[in-house]
C-alpha cells in the first residue's frame, strides 16, 4: 500500500550549480512518479508557492526535493511542504554529493538518478509525526550555598525565576566566609572576603524569588520529561529561626564546649551556637551530636525559641532544572603523615592560616603560634596531595594553592615584616595577571625555594623541613617554627553523594563531569542538570562566579525557549515489557528509568540511537519514525538502479560525518562516483541485517564513519568488528567493510579515505 503513495519530485537547477553537470532532462525522463518539476532556484521564496501548488494539484502524499544538502535547506523545505507533515519530505543531495564532486556528466547524471530513487523509496516509508514540544517547569533547585550556588541562585532570581537554594550546613556562605582575605591581582591588594560576600548574602536573603533551605540535603531524585521530583530532608535546627533574635544568651549558659569547625578547630564553640557573625539564617542552632539536653538554654531563652525535640522533615520539590554547586573539601592530611600535621600544633593548612590571620578568627587576626608567640620563620609546602600519583594523592593541580600561598605570605609580611616566609614549590602557577602578584610577593621579601619537601620533623622547639634546593642541587634542612601546607582541593562528600543521587557522571577524581570540556562547560551528562564552582573542578572565586552565572543562563535558555524535540525517539510497549531493566543501563544517554512500575524514556534525553532495542529480549522497545525500514528502503533504492559494470559503495554517516562529506563538495574536491552516502540519525542504527542485505544485493563495499567524540563510538566499532567476524565465518571477505573515524574539518582526509576504499574494493573485485 505504501507503493501506491503519490510522490512528487522537485528538481532544482541551483542556478547551474546542478544543471551544468547533471542532465536534468535525462533525470526527469527516468523517474516514474506522480509528478516531476524542475526549477531554477527552489529555495527562493517562489519555491514555497510552486511546491504547495503542485502538492494540491497532484494530490501528493510525499515529496522529494532533489537539490542541495539537507544540512543547508532541510528546515526550509520542511516548511515549504506545509500543509504536508514536514517528515513526509526527503532531500536527495545532488549538489554537494554529486554535481560538486564529480565531473563526468554521464556518470554524475546516473548517480543523481540513483540518489533520487533512493529518496523516493525512503520517503515512502515515512509517516507523519509531530515534533515533541517540551516545556519544563520554571522552578530551579540550586544545591549548595557557597559562593557559586549563591551567585547562580541570585542570577536566576533576578531574571524572575523561583529558586530553592539547598544548603547542608546551618548557614549559607561556604568556604568564602572562612577565608579571611581575598586578593586582587590587578590592584595588587588583599581585601576583606567577608565584606565582598556580605552584600551578595544580603541581596540573596532579601530576594523574594529565593527560598533558602539550610540544614537540608537532597536525598531522592526522579526525573520525568524535564521535571525533577526531589525529596529534600531538612534536619531540625532545634531553634526556631522565626523567634530567635540571636541574642546569644543561650550560649552563655551552655556548658558543652567543642572544637569550632568554622575556625578549622582552632577555637571552641558551645553546643548551641551561631556558625559565624554574618551567618544566615540569623539564628542559633544546636549541634545535637554534642548536646547533653541539659535544658539550660531552653530556660534562659526569653524568646522561647528553643525546642530540644525535633525530627527531620521531608520536603518534596518539583523543579525543571538543577544547578549542582556542592563544592569541594580539603585533602585529609592523615594521608601524608610525613609532614606531621597530626603530630604538631604548628604544622597547619593554608585554610587554618586563613582563620588565624582573619580578624574574625581565633586570634583576632594576630599571627601567633600555638604557644602565643609570633613565628620567626614560616615555611609553606606546596602541592600537598596535588600533582601526586601516589595512593590517595591527586594527579591534578589544585590550581588555587599557589596564589593562596602568595596571598597568605603577603599577609604575614604585612603583619610581621620580620617573619621570614619561605615557599617550597615545584612550579609557581600564576597565569595571566596573577604573575604580577607573584612579583609583588617577591618584592615583599618572601623567599622561594624550588623543591618538594620530603618530611617535617621536630627538633627541640623548632621544625626541620627536609628538602632539596633543586636549583642549587643541594639537600637542605630548613629550620622553621611554623609550617603551612597547601593542601589539595578534592570533591566534597556532598558532591560525591549528589552525583550518585542524580546519576550524573563524574571524572576519575570524583568531580562532576561536564558534558564537553571545551564547548559545554556547565552542562552535565544529564539533561537539565548543570554544574558550577568547585564541584566541577578546582577553581577560584572569580571562576566559580563566572561558571555560576553561565549555568544560570543555561537554565534560562530552557525556561524561555522551551525545547522542541525531533520525534524519532524510543518508545516502550508496556504490554511486552517485563521490567527487567536491562535497557536502562544500556542507554548511554541515561534517558531511561523505572518510574511507577514502568520503564520511562525521557524524550529530552533520548537521541533515538537504538542501543536499547538490541538488548531487549521481549522486543518491547521500538524507535519511532520507521528508521529501520527507511534505511532498508534507501539501500534498496540505491541498488535498484545499479548497472552491471557499476561499482557500488554505500557510505553510512550521521550528521557529523555527513557535514564532513558535504565539505568535500563545498571545497570542490572529488571522490569516485561509486560512493553513495546515506545519512542516518545515528550510525548505530545501521544493523547487521542492513549490511547483509546490501552486500547480498549488489553493494560492493560498505563504509561506516563515526565521530570519535560520539558516545556511541566504541559501541559502533565493536559492532563493525562483530559483523566482520560473521563475514569471515561465512567465507566472505571482511575487507568489504570499513570503519573509520570522521571529523568535520578533516574532509580532505575523508575524501582520501573514500577514494582509497574505492580502489581497494576495485582490487577485491578483480
Amino acid at each position: 500500500m505504501r507503493d501506491d503513495l503519490k510522490v512528487g519530485v522537485f528538481l532544482c537547477e541551483c542556478g547551474g550549480n546542478i544543471s551544468d553537470i547533471i542532465d536534468l532532462d535525462e533525470v526527469r525522463a527516468s523517474l516514474d512518479v506522480e509528478f516531476v518539476g524542475q526549477f531554477e532556484n527552489l529555495c527562493s521564496l517562489n519555491g514555497r508557492k510552486i511546491i504547495r501548488d503542485a502538492i494540491f494539484d497532484h494530490d501528493l502524499d510525499r515529496v522529494v526535493v532533489a537539490a542541495c544538502s539537507p544540512i543547508s535547506h532541510e528546515k526550509t523545505f520542511q516548511d515549504y511542504v506545509k500543509p504536508l507533515n514536514p517528515y513526509l519530505m526527503d532531500m536527495a543531495n545532488i549538489r554537494e554529493q554529486c554535481s560538486w564532486v564529480h565531473s563526468d556528466k554521464a556518470k554524475a547524471t546516473h548517480k543523481a538518478i540513483t540518489l533520487i530513487n533512493a529518496s523516493i523509496e525512503k520517503v515512502k516509508q515515512s509517516d507523519a509525526v509531530d515534533p515533541i514540544y517540551c516545556q519544563t517547569p520554571d522552578e530551579v533547585a540550586v544545591i549548595g550555598g557557597g559562593i557559586a550556588g549563591m551567585n547562580a541562585a541570585l542570577s536566576l532570581a533576578k531574571q524572575g525565576t523561583k529558586v530553592t537554594l539547598i544548603e547542608q550546613s546551618p548557614s549559607i556562605g561556604g568556604h568564602m566566609a572562612k577565608i579571611g582575605k581575598v586578593f586582587s591581582p590587578v590592584k595588587i591588594a588583599e581585601e576583606c572576603g567577608m565584606c565582598l560576600l556580605n552584600p551578595i548574602l544580603n541581596e540573596l536573603v532579601w530576594n523574594e524569588n529565593i527560598e533558602v533551605l539550610t540544614n537540608s540535603k537532597v536525598i531522592e531524585a526522579e526525573r520525568r520529561a524535564g521535571t525533577y521530583n526531589l525529596i529534600v530532608e531538612k534536619s531540625p535546627r532545634y531553634v526556631d529561626t522565626e523567634r530567635c533574635i540571636a541574642c546569644g544568651k543561650c550560649k552563655e549558659v551552655c556548658e558543652v564546649e567543642v572544637p569550632d569547625d568554622w575556625n578549622d578547630g582552632l577555637s571552641t564553640r558551645k553546643a548551641i551556637y551561631r556558625p559565624f557573625g554574618q551567618s544566615y539564617p540569623e539564628s542559633y542552632v544546636i549541634d545535637m551530636d554534642n548536646c547533653t539536653k541539659c535544658s539550660s538554654c531552653v530556660k534562659v531563652c526569653n524568646m522561647r525559641a528553643i525546642k530540644l525535640r525535633g525530627r527531620p522533615e521531608r520536603i518534596p520539590l518539583q523543579v525543571g532544572s538543577i544547578i549542582v554547586a556542592t563544592g569541594h573539601k580539603l585533602f585529609d592530611m592523615e594521608k601524608r603523615p610525613e609532614y606531621g600535621y597530626n603530630r604538631y600544633n604548628d604544622v597547619i593548612t593554608q585554610s587554618e592560616l586563613g582563620r588565624i590571620t582573619g580578624v574574625n578568627g581565633p586570634t583576632k587576626g594576630k599571627l601567633l603560634k600555638s604557644n602565643g608567640e609570633v613565628p620567626k620563620r614560616v615555611v609553606m609546602i606546596q602541592c600537598v596531595g596535588s600533582r601526586d600519583e601516589k595512593p590517595d594523592g591527586h594527579r591534578y593541580c589544585s590550581k588555587i594553592c599557589c596564589t593562596v600561598a602568595l596571598k597568605n605570605a603577603n599577609i604575614i609580611k604585612h603583619k610581621n615584616p620580620d617573619t621570614d616566609v619561605v615557599i617550597c614549590y615545584t612550579d609557581v602557577r600564576t597565569p595571566g595577571m596573577f604573575e604580577k602578584y607573584y612579583k609583588h610577593t617577591q618584592e615583599n621579601e618572601v623567599r622561594f625555594i624550588r623543591g618538594r619537601p620530603g618530611e617535617v620533623v621536630k627538633k627541640g622547639d623548632s621544625f626541620i623541613v627536609r628538602t632539596e634546593d633543586t636549583l642549587k642541587g643541594e639537600f637542605i634542612e630548613i629550620e622553621a617554627d611554623m609550617v603551612v601546607l597547601s593542601t589539595a582541593m578534592e570533591p566534597s562528600d556532598g558532591t560525591r553523594e549528589i552525583a550518585e543521587i542524580l546519576n550524573i557522571g563524574t571524572t576519575e577524581d570524583g568531580f562532576i563531569k561536564e558534558s564537553h570540556p571545551k564547548i559545554k562547560p556547565v552542562a552535565t551528562d544529564v539533561q537539565g542538570i548543570f554544574v558550577c564552582g568547585t564541584a566541577h573542578d578546582p577553581k577560584d572565586i572569580t571562576e566559580s562566579i563566572m561558571q555560576a552565572i553561565a549555568s544560570a543562563s543555561k537554565v534560562s535558555e530552557y525556561n524561555y525557549g522551551g525545547v522542541e524535540i525531533e520525534p524519532f525517539i524510543a518508545e516502550i510497549d508496556k504490554d511486552k515489557c517485563i521490567l527487567c531493566g536491562d535497557c536502562i543501563s544500556r542507554c548511554k544517554y541515561k534517558s531511561m528509568s523505572i518510574q511507577n512500575d514502568e520503564v520511562y524514556i525521557d524524550p529530552m534525553a533520548c537521541t533515538g540511537c537504538g542501543k536499547c532495542l538490541v538488548g531487549c529480549g521481549q522486543k518491547a522497545i521500538h524507535v519511532n519514525g520507521n528508521i529501520d525500514e527507511k534505511i532498508l528502503a534507501t539501500i534498496k533504492g540505491v541498488l535498484s538502479n545499479k548497472n552491471d559494470d557499476e561499482r557500488m559503495i554505500l557510505v553510512f554517516l550521521d550528521n557529523i560525518g555527513y557535514t564532513a562529506a558535504d565539505n568535500i563538495g563545498v571545497n570542490r574536491l572529488s571522490y569516485p562516483e561509486s560512493i553513495h552516502i546515506i545519512k542516518v540519525i545515528s550510525v548505530n542504527r545501521v544493523r547487521p541485517n542492513h549490511i547483509k542485505y546490501a552486500l547480498e544485493n549488489g553493494a560492493d563495499g560498505v563504509f561506516i564513519g563515526e565521530f570519535p567524540g560520539d558516545l556511541m563510538y566504541d559501541e559502533v566499532e565493536r559492532k563493525v568488528d562483530r559483523i566482520k567476524e560473521t563475514l569471515i565465518e561465512l567465507n566472505e571477505n571482511p575487507e568489504q567493510i570499513m570503519f573509520s573515524k570522521v571529523y568535520i574539518p578533516y574532509f580532505t582526509g575523508l575524501a582520501r579515505k573514500l577514494t582509497d576504499f574505492d580502489k581497494k574494493i576495485e582490487e577485491l573485485n578483480l
Binding site: K335, R336, P337, E338, G340, P391, V457, K458, K459
Partner: protein, 313 residues
C-alpha cells in the same frame, strides 16, 4: 582490606634468618602454631637471590628464573601462598611474580630456557601466582590474626620503651600492598599493640632505611653506618629500649653493628633488637633459648628484658 590467607602457606626460608637469627624462624613457627596457621617448609626451596640481586651480581632474568622454580615448588605441594620472614625475599619474589605475569617476553624467554634444557617441569604459566593474593610477609599473616593475638599473651612487656623499624623492602617496594601505611609505616606498631604494649610511634627517620644498603655495608661502611647512626641517635633521643624489626638484614645492621656504631658516634646505644615474631613469641611465653634463639644476638636480650611479668588476668 585484602584477603590474608591462614592456610596453604609455604613458609619461605631465608638465608639470613637461617645463618644469623635462626630464632626468627623458630619464633615464627611458635607464633603461627599458637594462632592455628597452616604452613610448611620445603627443603627444595632455595634462596631468593636477594642479597646478590641487590649487589647487582644477579640480573632480573637470573632472579626471576630462580623465582619461577620456587613458585613451581610452592604450587606443586599445594601451598601457593608464599610467606616470607625476610623483607628482601618478599620484595624480590613479589617483583618476580609481577614481572613474570606481566612481561610476556621475560616469561617466554625463561620458559624457553627451561624447555631447551630439560627443565620443563619448572615452566611458569601466566598468573600461576598472583602478586597480591599469594605473596606475603609474616607480618601480613600475623595482621590477619591480630584479633586472636591478645588471647595468647602471657607476659606483659608494656613497661619497656618500644619502637618499630619497618624494613624498606616490605614497606616501600610494593607499597600498594603494604598494610597499615608506608609513608608512616605502622604494621609492627599495631602488632605490638595487640600484645598489650604501646610503641613510641613516630620518631625522626622512622621510615628511613636501616643503612645496610646491601653493598654499602661492606664496600662503603662509612656511608652505611652514618645512615644507621641517624636512626640510632633518633631512637636513643627517645630512650628506646627495644627496637622491633621485620627483616633479618635490618636486624644484623642494628644488632650486630650497634657496638661499632656506638664507638663511631661516641654514644652508648643500648637498645636490644627483636624480630616482631620474636617479640610476640616472648609475650606468648616462648623459651628464650629454645624458641627465641637469644644466643644468636650480639646485644644480649637480657640486658634489657631481665625478668618477665605475667599479665594480670
Amino acid at each position: 582490606m585484602k584477603l590474608i590467607p591462614d592456610k596453604d602457606i609455604l613458609l619461605f626460608r631465608s638465608c639470613l634468618v637461617s645463618v644469623e637469627y635462626p630464632g626468627v624462624e623458630s619464633s615464627t613457627k611458635f607464633v603461627f602454631d599458637k594462632l592455628g596457621i597452616d604452613y610448611a617448609i620445603s627443603e627444595k626451596q632455595t634462596c631468593c637471590t636477594g642479597l646478590g640481586h641487590y649487589s647487582d651480581v644477579f640480573n632480573q632474568i637470573d632472579t626471576s628464573a630462580i623465582g619461577a622454580r620456587n613458585f613451581k615448588i610452592a604450587k606443586d605441594i599445594g601451598r601457593p601462598n608464599l610467606v616470607m620472614m625476610c623483607a628482601t625475599c618478599y620484595a624480590i619474589n613479589k617483583k618476580s611474580v609481577k614481572l613474570l605475569n606481566k612481561k610476556d617476553d621475560l616469561r617466554n624467554h625463561i620458559n624457553q630456557l627451561f624447555e631447551e634444557n630439560g627443565l620443563e617441569h619448572l615452566k611458569y604459566e601466566k598468573d600461576d601466582l598472583l602478586p597480591s593474593e599469594n605473596i606475603f610477609h609474616v607480618v601480613d599473616i600475623l595482621y590477619g590474626k591480630i584479633s586472636e593475638i591478645p588471647k595468647h599473651i602471657k607476659y606483659d612487656l608494656s613497661e619497656y620503651k618500644i619502637a618499630s623499624h619497618h624494613g624498606c623492602h616490605y614497606c616501600k617496594v610494593h607499597y600498594e600492598d603494604t598494610i597499615a601505611g608506608f609513608r608512616d609505616p605502622n604494621i609492627i606498631d599495631e602488632l605490638i599493640g595487640a600484645c598489650g604494649c604501646k610503641t613510641i610511634g613516630w620518631y625522626d627517620h622512622k621510615r628511613a632505611t636501616c643503612g645496610t644498603g646491601f653493598r654499602q655495608r661492606y664496600s662503603n661502611p662509612d656511608l652505611s653506618f652514618t645512615a644507621t647512626a641517624d636512626k640510632m641517635n633518633a631512637l636513643d633521643d627517645e630512650e628506646v629500649e627495644i627496637v622491633v624489626h621485620l627483616c633479618p638484614n635490618c636486624h644484623i645492621q642494628f644488632d650486630r653493628y650497634q657496638p661499632l656504631i656506638s664507638k663511631r658516634e661516641g654514644r652508648e646505644f643500648e637498645a636490644i633488637h627483636l624480630n616482631i615474631a620474636q617479640f610476640i613469641a616472648i609475650a606468648m611465653g616462648g623459651d628464650f633459648d629454645k624458641v627465641i634463639g637469644v644466643k644468636a644476638h650480639t646485644t644480649p636480650i637480657d640486658s634489657v628484658i631481665k625478668e618477665l611479668k605475667e599479665v594480670e588476668q
